[in-house]
């Protein structure tokens, strides 16, 4: 019998939600690390019992926790994130140079094949890798060394590297995204990087089509079609069919194309999900209606999914790492809100129900499909 494990990071702890394959009844475990900000938890595809978690507070800084038993027990591992060489400067909010300073880990991406290898996307933006199960971390400094670093600037959440996508067909290829610098790709396992932002248009930077400076909120890829990428930018939903070399706008009939999350159906590479948010200064759904939008055509044509979601007086946000899918048949879709709800759909988005309603603000949602 299949089982689903949902890993939820919140402002005040982590929660683990489990169900059988029917996904009707859920057990809620937590809070783990109560009181700490849990930006992200993720399991190793190579060993589902190996989990990594990012734990931080303003008081005591950053910790990394590791579990070898699917989240029942945890142990702190290495938390020394030191930039390679002289870190240099990026742009501050007002455009002045500001020194690179480590603040926190936004995203942990375990290797597809080795449970002891894991990548960390951090603020101020950089990519780190551990090959000893999180004990020690080394920066893949070619990213910041690309040369455009002095032009990167923080988004409202900080200068964060929030998206890491490992290409299952090519171990040398990794995609990352930074707010607000844009998307980057390496084809040599992290030695060298290049920005992949052609086709993005951003009115809030001096040159709207610049090579870097774009506030990319999240990027998603279907593992069976790794050259196709879907992006939720600050404004605009975008698609690339050439591994990021160029992008086309696919916002189509969305009521608004601002948002944070984007994800792809587990079995249908052209079925894409977003949650439109009213604007960059009004981080809540338009009209107070929480609607997931689904495209079955790879973009442009979108349908509102509302069954089971609040359709009045709803003013929560859905943050960039707070949506995930399982790989059961039918595909399950999950997302968490800043109001503390985690919603699940066991039928690819047609019907939704909350698993939990009253958690702290949800920062991230990841799903493991266990057999």
């Amino acid at each position: 019998m299949s089982e689903v494990r949902v890993l939820v990071g919140t402002r005040k702890g982590a929660f683990v939600l489990t169900s059988d394959g029917k996904r009707e009844h859920w057990d809620v475990s937590g809070p783990h690390f109560g009181g700490w900000e849990m930006y992200h938890l993720k399991g190793s595809p190579a060993d589902p019992n190996r989990l990594y978690a990012s734990q931080s507070t303003g008081w005591f800084g950053q910790l990394i926790q590791r579990s070898n038993d699917g989240g029942k027990t945890w142990e702190p591992v290495g938390n020394k994130f030191v930039y390679d060489g002289v870190p240099g400067t990026h742009q501050w909010y007002d455009g002045t140079p500001h020194p690179w300073e480590f603040k926190r880990v936004w995203h942990l991406e375990p290797s597809l094949t080795d449970p002891d290898t894991v990548y960390a996307g951090v603020e101020d933006a950089a990519l780190f890798r551990s090959t000893d199960a999180g004990q020690t971390w080394q920066e893949l400094a070619g990213l910041r060394g690309h040369g455009s670093g002095p032009h990167w600037q923080p988004g409202a959440g900080g200068l964060c590297l929030h998206t890491i996508i490992l290409d299952p067909a090519d171990p040398q290829r990794i995609y990352i995204a930074i707010s607000a610098a844009g998307a980057f790709r390496t084809d040599d396992a992290g030695q060298t990087w290049r920005p992949i932002n052609r086709g993005l248009y951003s009115k809030y930077i001096p040159e709207p089509t610049a090579e870097v400076g774009h506030c990319v909120h999240h990027v998603a890829m279907h593992p069976a079609r790794p050259g196709v990428l879907f992006m939720q930018k600050h404004w605009d939903v975008m698609r690339s069919d050439d591994a990021g070399d160029s992008w086309q706008k696919i916002s189509g009939n969305l009521p608004v194309d601002f948002g944070f999350v984007i994800d792809v159906h587990a079995h249908e590479p052209d079925t894409v999900y977003v949650v439109p948010i009213k604007s960059d200064s009004e981080h809540y759904p338009p009209e107070g209606k929480l609607r997931v939008y689904r495209s079955r055509t790879g973009g442009n044509e979108w349908e509102a999914l509302t069954q089971g979601l609040p359709q009045s007086d709803c003013y929560v946000n859905v943050l960039r790492d707070a949506m995930a899918v399982d790989s059961l048949d039918a595909c399950g879709v999950y997302f968490g809100t800043t109001g503390g709800q985690v919603y699940a759909s066991a039928d690819a988005g047609d019907h939704w129900a909350p698993i939990v309603r009253d958690l702290p603000a949800v920062l991230s949602v990841e799903v493991q499909t266990l057999s």
Partner: protein, 100 residues
């Protein structure tokens, strides 16, 4: 023997209850006490002071004998009552730290 009181979050992280008692070689200073604390509880590295610069984290304070020692030099001797174990060395999360 030096007595150290950790804030609740760090007691959980270090899996200790109540005070920590440390034997500190040489003079009792902030640095020598924190060195001994981190040697005994490696999971606390980076949570009280930066691992590279050794700087106290901004939202952490050091109190003892009803004094704020946060801005004392790290190699300054701690009060005699702390060095003798009569009074604890308090590591405190600043009251402003829980903003979110």
């Amino acid at each position: 023997m030096i007595r150290v009181v950790l804030p609740a979050h760090l007691r959980i992280l270090a899996r200790v209850a109540g005070e920590v008692q440390l034997d500190v070689a040489g003079q009792a200073t902030q640095r020598s006490v924190l060195d001994a604390l981190e040697a005994r509880y490696p999971m606390l590295r980076g949570t009280i002071r930066d691992q590279v610069t050794g700087q106290r984290r901004p939202f952490v304070r050091f109190f003892a004998c009803e004094q704020d020692l946060s801005h004392e030099p790290p190699d300054a001797p701690l009060p005699a009552a702390v060095a003798s174990g009569a009074e604890p060395f308090l590591i405190v999360g600043a009251i402003a730290g829980g903003a979110r």
